[in-house]
Symmetry: C2
Subunit: 146 residues, 2 copies
DNA sequence: GGAGAAATTGAAAATGACAATCAGAAAGCT
DNA sequence: AGCTTTCTGATTGTCATTTTCAATTTCTCC
């Protein structure tokens, strides 16, 4: 299994793009970052050590990561696109706390199977899906009872 | 079962809001409209008969519909919020064609059940969910083979 | 049928995330 | 090194959505 650095550099090469130190820096920070961050989150984090990297470059590079398949773009409906490192064999969906923003990942193969059945029912050729459960995390649910 | 007009007027009353003719007009157009329309769609449709109703009012009124539960807000990731009249006992999810924009509704009780199991697994108290399958509709899938 | 308080309206401007621009810098091939 | 192509980052543009605010409308209470 190819690692994410290799996937990215292969992609760079195949498209005739260039290996810049900004891209290297952003890739490292991306892989070291915890999931579900926005462009701005990563930009602010990077700025501490690399004040010369611009917001636009971070944004374009994250788009590149998504293009080559090492990142996935998430939209939890709060007006900010989020990113997460994507491991090809580890697809998952999300539980989102509407009170504190906590994000929990889940997998449920039985749901994935049923999605295929639904697609077949309507003759759709599915490329991807979005499945998010919104509500209160255990902590916020408990706090709300008070 | 209360109809949508009653739900809305009850909501208006309970919040100390006022019954304006714009709201009445927008509610009628909303209920007569086919699903999955944007604020602009409805605004343009209304403008033919009611050129004095402003975009902001249409927008605010649709938000009110969502608040009181007679509309649901949809986000298919194309940068435009869409709305649909919501019938309380007819929850459904969506298949979206990424080529032509066709939207097909589906229900799958087994998936809904499994969602509850997932929520229970993580002690989440689910309020709502978003479940969309993106891909090619039969027509676009066929066209792509050519 | 008003008077008065409170909510509403609609045109316009503000907001904010994202995308495009472009001149100077860097990469990489020969 | 020279040359061509791509990249960078500050800035500007875009566009859906939200806010503003003065004028209007609604609605309660005489
Ligand atoms: Mn995740
Ligand atoms: Mn629908
Ligand atoms: Zn929470
Ligand atoms: Zn289609």
């Amino acid at each position: 299994m190819m690692d994410q650095m290799t996937i990215f550099s292969d992609y760079i090469r195949s498209k005739g793009l260039k290996n810049t130190c900004q891209r290297k820096t952003i890739l490292e920070a991306f892989l070291a970052s915890k999931s579900h961050f926005s462009t701005e989150d990563l930009y602010l984090k990077l700025r501490k050590q690399h004040p010369n990297i611009g917001y636009a470059t971070v944004h374009r590079t994250l788009k590149l990561f998504a293009e080559c398949g090492i990142a996935s773009e998430l939209d939890f409906g709060d007006g900010q696109t989020r990113f997460e490192p994507l491991d090809i064999n580890q697809h998952h969906d999300h539980l989102v706390c509407t009170n504190c923003g906590l994000i929990v990942e889940f997998t449920e193969p039985r749901i994935e199977k049923l999605q295929e059945q639904v697609a077949a029912r309507y003759n759709f050729k599915i490329e991807r899906h979005r499945h998010e459960l919104y509500g209160l995390c255990p902590k916020c649910a408990k706090a709300q009872l008070v």
